[in-house]
């Protein structure tokens, strides 16, 4: 929430800064009038520097054979050895494929369902029913993945699983399906689980954006005889466009974060080939084996990829003259 609201603020900020007059004088004058604000932002800049920039120094251990007991100066420098290990391991490409596959599915499904649900909720006039739907759809967000994974794997189990029981009763299948045992289905199961858990939560930002839409527009549309669908199509969706695009750009930066808990908890030997993602790989070959350097190397790789995605997306948005992050 916090992050999203900051974005909209920044959106307004940039529109102010793009004002044509930009002489030094105005700049200093503006600084003076805003000195209280600037002073207030200082602690956060310090925070940002201490907690986000100084730790970057730790990246150096990716190029060392790092041993926690030794001081920084005694570490053995081994260059790109760890990156070499990563890029020559066939498993690495498999987990990379899984990571990209699952996060793309989550991203696309997440956007479509959240926007869809927000639009539907917005059209509900019955306040109590709306609240009920919202509460029910938010609820899964607040249970931990450990619990959620148990619920999911139980629902999908052979004998007692509700999914299999329903499918059997409806005559859609002849015998129960071992859902979590079909490796190629895992991405889908993971995507659907993710939506079940987060769709309600993800609608909040869109619902907030919808409330910002000027009601006069709807009134005018009413007078012109627009139907409900037309109002959604021509008023709500276009008004949501800036929010959608900004969220899209930011989420593209997280493309290599396909989550960890869901895959770790729902993964099993049968679906391993499709469920293992980058984070699990790092846990197995980095942290569990005490190989912090490898874990750091993987972390650097992730950051670089995120950067590329973020900037590309932002650049494309800029090219097409759409709202953007910076």
């Amino acid at each position: 929430m916090q992050m999203e609201s900051r974005v909209t603020e920044e959106g307004i900020d940039t529109s102010i800064l793009v004002q044509p007059k930009k002489s030094k004088e105005i700049f200093i004058k503006k600084m003076m009038t805003q000195k209280a604000l600037i002073a207030m932002s200082f602690p956060f800049l310090i925070w940002l520097f201490i907690f986000k920039y100084i730790p970057l120094w730790g990246w150096s251990i990716a190029f060392q054979d790092f041993k926690p007991a030794k001081s920084l100066l005694d570490q053995e420098w081994i260059g790109l050895e760890h990156f070499k290990f990563l890029f020559t391991d066939p498993n690495f490409y498999r987990v990379l494929r899984n990571t990209l596959g699952m996060s793309t599915i989550n991203l696309v499904l997440g956007f479509v369902t959240a926007i869809g649900l927000a639009l539907l909720l917005n059209e509900i006039r019955h306040a109590k029913f709306k609240k009920l739907v919202q509460t029910i759809s938010y609820m899964p967000h607040f249970i931990s993945w450990v619990v959620a994974a148990s619920i999911i794997s139980y629902s999908l189990s052979l004998d007692n699983g509700i999914v299999n029981i329903v499918l059997l009763k409806l005559g859609i299948v002849d015998e129960p399906i071992l859902w979590l045992g079909k490796e190629t289905w895992f991405w889908g199961i993971n995507g659907v689980s993710d939506i079940w858990k987060n769709v309600g939560w993800n609608t909040i930002i869109y619902l907030a954006a919808i409330t910002m839409i000027d009601p006069e527009q709807y009134e005018a549309a009413d007078i012109d005889g627009a139907t409900r669908l037309q109002r959604i199509r021509y008023i709500t969706l276009p008004s949501l466009k800036p929010t959608i695009i900004i969220l899209m750009i930011m989420n593209l930066g997280y493309i290599l974060e396909s989550g960890f808990e869901a895959q770790y908890l729902l993964g099993n030997p049968l679906n391993l080939a499709y469920s293992e993602n980058l984070d699990i790989y790092v846990l197995k070959y980095g942290i569990s084996l005490g190989n912090f350097s490898l874990a750091t190397a993987a972390g650097i790789f992730k950051t670089v990829v995120s950067f590329i995605f973020l900037f590309t997306a932002n650049h494309i948005a800029k090219r097409f003259d759409q709202p953007r992050l910076f």
Partner: protein, 552 residues
Amino acid sequence: MFKSKIFMVLLMFVLLVSVAGCTKDESSSGKASKSGDSKEPVTFSYYNAASPGKDMNTNETVIGKELEKQTGVNFKVEYAVGDINTKIGTMIASGKYPDLLVPDAALPKVLDAGAFIELNDLIDKHAPNIKKLYGPYLNRMKDKDGKIFFIPMEASQGFIANPNIDQGAFWVQRAVLKEAGYPKIKTLDEYFKLIEDYQKKHPEVEGKSTIGFTALTYDWRFFALSNTPNHLAGYPNDGGVQVDMKTHEAKVYGNNDDTKRYLKELNELNSKGLFDKEAFVGNYDEYLAKLTSGRVLGFFDYGWQIGQAEDNLKNAGVDDKRYMALPITFDENTKDQYLDPPSFVSNRGVGITVSAKDPVRIIKYLDNMVKEENQKLILWGIKGETYEVNDEGRFHRTEEQIAKTSDEKFREDFGSKIYEWGWPRGNGLYADGNAWEPRRQAEVAQMSYTDGDKKLLEAYGVQVFSDLFAKPEDRPWYPAWSVQLEEGSKEQIFSQRQTDLQKKYYPKLVLAKPSEFESIWTEYKKEYNALDVKVYEETMTKEIKKLIDLAK
């Protein structure tokens, strides 16, 4: 006005930062009294990453109170919550340790970080009892420079088999044995035949299908499946290798015929519909629930992993649904080696950290607790209260005492939970011939048997369950899984990759159509042999030879 407000805000911020920065951890305790002989009360801190438990002071327990009386030392005990690697990692990063630390599997990290102090001198000067108890193993406790940094968990004194099976075995539901008239089962074929016959007659249990055979494959517990071929071929749990008894050559078995044979058997079992389809998807809890439900007829596992299920069935009084452990091998004439030979696990232990201010008093405390009379206090309790002694000097427990000492609350208050594991101790036999721990004393085990247990034992003509199993042969390196591979080394990466590969292929091999088995096996073996097998085998062989030399 406004200015002063900003000033206040900034001031607050500066204050907050400086306060946070200055808060020092005052908890590191133990007054720096250098006099090791003093009995002056003192409290040290202790952290045990090996097991979960309730955080408390040792002097709140009966045993701890007595030990405090003898030494004046009290420990503030803390247990692992969550991932131990994270917790130990935090300790290493901050450089602040408890005085006494049991890092469990994170031991190599602690050693790497130089967090333990050297114990050679302390043991020499202040710990005659530890020296005596650990005497035969002192050389194995030394690192390559001859230094001792931690005291391994236990030192065996003579061999005594656990009367009940807490290690690996093929388990079978008692109802199956009963119906077949308690046959003597030795080979894998006989075992599967027994299950097949029973399943044909009883395809359903309480409305649900009977599961012929299942396996535990969840997460790190996957070894319960991958270790099985080794046991069937007549080897003990030596981790990932089979060690030749003559040449002491260590060979991996993940790609050999034993593994192939076992997986092929499972594959056939699956094609007959006897293998649990969910064996590769269920987690540990689901596995235990399945065992408790009474639907499962057989499985391979280590006794300590199924304790919960067994206890539940025992408490529920459904004797027929409980399981019995059998020493199954591939062939009639293979000698089974399921029971652990006397072993010395040298990659787990307890050490004094660099944060400890008074290591002398700590080592003296540890030394005091390994005296035989204190070991008896810790493991057996108090004579007349938790155990009895008969005329021949044999220790035993009455039924009430057994019930009392297995009650969790009692164990906590008495101190058994704190002291039984995680401190230096012995195992095996005391000088007077009694078992070091009650559960290994035949008298105690027999007293706790139910009528169902007794009937089974009678049918097979044995005194205790482990009598069915062969005596372990002498393996001075045992267990090979305690060989510590260097963090991040080729050998360690091999182990991890081997497990990954097995996790990927074993389900395929078991669940494939029988006609496809061969081709999948070839594919698996090709990928397996592409790993660093040689490096791993060489290192293991070298380490095992080293262990044999040390034991001489």
